[in-house]
């Protein structure tokens, strides 16, 4: 009697196992990568209602971040500037600039400008800007070099593991409070010494318990 199955079928179980394992790995990888904030959030660069350039204002003109985001060292929220803040300058500068039309409109109609949020941690994570800024964490650590961005883009994943990486080892991100908004600051050679003193002085001891951020 002829063989019912050809010889090659002997290897079917092996191939099946290899195939299944491979596809499982691929599926896991896909979820692990595509589902993670590294993919979903990093690179997010939405259009804003106004073609506002951080590069021009913060970079070329050198306006301090806190001129507009004045709540950053006082409040959990950094604060997006009110129309009034724009108009402080733009009643004198660029009064006929077409790009500024929405600002002037908002000023005239008293309808607020609706900015699109770029950086967001979930509602159940209570991030506090003032805690970080006053501890000497630079803006650049989380937001990237905003002074070189025409349009703001998210460069860090802002995920919990990313937060915890720094909370467990904050040394690299600490700098003098006076340099917090400085995008071009470079670590001096005695940075290690500074960090040691600074952590002692300000009792810097970032929480790694759940209760640090979640309530």
């Amino acid at each position: 009697m002829a063989q019912l199955f050809p010889r090659w079928t002997n290897k079917t179980p092996l191939y099946t196992i290899i195939g299944l394992t491979a596809s499982l790995v691929i599926i896991i990888f896909l979820f692990w990568y595509y589902g993670s904030p590294k993919n979903t959030d990093v690179g997010y660069r939405p259009d804003q209602p106004i073609d506002y350039s951080h590069k021009l204002h913060a970079g070329d003109l050198g306006i301090d971040c806190r001129y507009c985001h004045w709540g950053v060292d006082k409040s959990p929220h950094a604060n997006v500037p009110s129309t009034k803040t724009c108009m402080n300058c733009h009643t004198l500068v660029g009064t006929d600039n077409e790009k500024l039309l929405p600002v002037r409109e908002s000023w005239a109609t008293k309808e607020p400008i609706q900015w699109v949020r770029v950086h967001k941690v979930p509602d159940y994570a209570y991030f506090d800007h003032s805690a970080h800024v006053n501890a000497g964490v630079g803006c650049i650590s989380c937001h990237g070099n905003v002074a070189e961005m025409e349009k703001v883009i998210q460069v860090e994943p802002l995920s919990m593991s990313w937060c915890l990486d720094c909370h467990r080892n904050p040394d690299e991100q600490l700098r003098p409070v006076s340099e917090v908004t400085n995008m071009n600051w470079v670590k001096p050679s005695d940075h290690k010494q500074f960090v040691e003193n600074w952590k002692k002085e300000k009792n810097i001891n970032p929480p790694v318990d759940c209760s640090g951020c979640h309530r």
Binding site: Y34, G35, T40, D41, Y44, P46, G71, K74, S75, P76, H77, N79, V80, P81, S82, T83, K84, S106, W107, K110, E111, P112, I113, Q114, W115, V116, R117, K120, D123, Y124, Y126, D128, S130, A131, N134, E201, K202, N203, D209, C210, S211, G212, H214, R215
Partner: protein, 978 residues
Amino acid sequence: MSLTKNREYWRSLDQLDETPEFKKFHESEFPEAMDEAGDQVSRRKFLGLMGASMALAGMASCRRPVEKIVPHIIPPEDMVPGVAVEYNTTMPFGNGAYGLTVRTYDGRPIKLEGNPKHPSTLGSSSTFIQGEILNLYDPDRSKSVLFNGGERTWDDFVVAWRELYTKGLDTKGEGMAVISTSFSSPTLVRLAKEFQKNLPNARWIVYDPISDENIFKGIKAATGRDLIPNYRFDRAKVILSLDSDFMHLERESIAAARGFADGRRVESTEDEMNRLYVVEGALSLTGSMADHRLRVANSRIGAFAAALANELQTLGIQIPGFNVASNDVNFDSTWINALAKDLAAHKGECVVVAGRGQSIAVHALVLAINSALGNLGETIEFRTADDDFLPNANDLAVLKSDIDNKNISTLLIIGGNPKYDAPFEINFKNIENVIHLADRINETSKLATWHIPQAHFLESWGDAQAVDGLISTIQPLIEPLHGGKSDVEVLNIFATGEDARGYDIVRETWESILPRGDFENAWRKALHDGVTENNTRTINPGIQPSGVEKALQYYAVDTASQHSFEIVLKPSTHVYDGRYNNNGWLLENPDPITKLTWDNAALLSPNSANELGVQKNDIVTITVNKKKLKLPVWIVHGMADFVVSIALGFGRDASGRVGNGIGGNAYKLRSNVNSFIETDASIEKDRGTYELVSSQDHGSMEGRPLVREGSIDEYKEEPHFAQEMVEHPPLQSLWKEHKYETGYQWGLTIDLNTCIGCGACTVACQSENNIAVVGKEQVGHGREMHWIRVDRYFEGDTDDPELVHQPVGCQHCEMAPCEGVCPVAATVHDSEGLNLMVYNRCVGTRYCSNNCPYKVRRFNFFNYIKDYPETIKMAQNPNVAVRSRGVMEKCTYCLQRINEAKLKAKQEGREVKDGEFMTACQQACPTQAITFGNILDPESKIAKAKASERNYAMLGEYNLKPRTSYLAKLRNPNPELA
């Protein structure tokens, strides 16, 4: 020590009798199975739906939703978005005032606390104060001016009123009448007087549905003056309450509870305690705190007062104006004798206080007794009330007949609801113009020609006067949400025809209150502090014996023993006079004594119920004064026999989506506007039953010594009695114990000796922590979400038991049993000793709750927050995550407040100071029974409380090491009655 060791505690008749109903509750962790959810979704359909939504969720989560940031156009000065700001204001309450500190976020008030500088709150609050936030954001508040039911604008009303006003000026207000509640606010008094000046023939009726009229009139009878009493319970060593729930539902209850607790606080064996005697029929919260309680039907309290006066006279204390002969009444003579001796031995250090339900004569007599005992000016102070608008019940009855005779053409109602709460029907159809200011379109508004939406006090300018004459400011924390008008603005237009801003009106009054020279600064300071300085005005009046005598002439002592039922009407612990009828927090907060939620009932003693042949939930028909009311029965140990107690404020049909149709309206049983006791009632069993829902058996803990108590003498003899009540082998851990020896280590104690069980902590916690309201049906399934429940235990004689209250929240065990059984590590410990709940990890197995010996974990069986109206969302605390369906939650020790304080301290380069912040329950507690802080700081209050001899850990014998501990309760019985 036999007293302490053999006490048996129970919570309900069901528990004593071990009924199947009780067994069902305490044998299973979650008494009702999940599958009887309200909406009928079969398991198969559920899985189908879940599958579909999973697939959709998978697709949707790849794209983040676009979120907008909308900044101000011109930012308000000094406002930092995201940073809480606190303002001081005042909550008017009848002719009293509660000074408050209000926390606001981004312009929305979210939490009320007492203003420590105000004499009526002293930094604490009550359930009602906490509930006001929900009243502010009530979606059922009225949103527009109405004319005969059609929408109008405020300007339309102004035009219409000016026409009436001009006509009124010609006739000097003939045919006009005003109904207002009582008030003592300087601005309202000024405007009311102006009204009376401009329209002298108009009538002014002061009508409070729950009125202190008899108190004021009794004092007036005895002294000849209008005076407001201010009881100083803190100075009293012996307190006698005659049907007065002074710690809870009478006027100035917060300060009274604090005073009582201050006289009772024991820190060492050297300290002394006050002694509280309570004589009452219906069991009240104050009665539950009594060292000696005598059950006397409320209608016979007067006879008791006379018997006491006689007994005092025989001890040589002359009661001015009292000459009622000694009557043969059947009171316990040993009891009265011991009480009289105790009072006589504490002249000037005792106080007798009668409840608002008692007659004018009783109040006059009580004042005479206090005067004879030398208490006036010592434990009772007075302020003059010559300018106050005090209630007068008779005026409303006269007005009713005038309306019937068509003598009234214009009726102005400022903030009352007489259609609902007057005992008789007022014929509104006979009045041409009824103008009604109310916060919602209530029963009266529906009959009014003009309805004006009333601004909440958190939206208004105003002022108020406290019990000692201190004047405080009311300032708005938010613009009127629905364009409401304040009583000040409305009264101003009534009085002058001018439409002015509340701010200007109040400021005008204050120009004469504050020093002239530096008004602007003084005004700003008054607004900042919420109170003014040095304008309290207390006086010490003399007693006019003839006045007392005259008052007593009208008063015959009923010597007959009681034979028929009497009805006792009380303000509701849930809704007070009905004003909180649409308030879910307050309706769901269990009554301190009955633990009933969401209803009122006919409360009966077990004997009365036997007499009538009724059981709990049976419907009875109550007939009194030819009026009938059907109510379900609830049996309460400790009620006097033949007394039926009913809470007022229920049975409304126009309060809103939450309150409509709940309970029965007992106002309609009244014989007159100001009666709280109706004798000669008949009660008959009716057909059918109605299921009342009580939380009294929830979270039962099976006869372990959870509450521990002793007498003050036992304590002095054996200070560590509480810790010695449980004997156990040396505690050994199954695993290596974590050491909590550095940083902050939070802990909390609750002093059972001063806890009065009022439930302010529960509602404060609900407000602070965004805790959902679940509704009556869910409470019936044992699914209430309160993070603190207040357990109430009966002990001793089933007819005349003693009570203990014990608030129980998460105990934050260092060796937490919940943590070990969670399969997903959703409940874990942090380095500061807190037991944390990580909502996002929780998958809802509920193992943690099964393993929790204290039964303090709460599970979200449904998405209770899903259908919150927009305005209710505004009441949520932005610093606390809002929980969704399927997660467990529980007390966090107010983690958000801990973090805020820690952050502030860190930024200021220091450690958190002791007492710098409080948990919400601690801050609200009127008696300061709760202490919280860092147990590692030896100087902290909490470390001292934990070191107290009375400190014990509930179920400490299981080596759970709870961070919450209790200080054992003490009683101070009179040795002669022991």
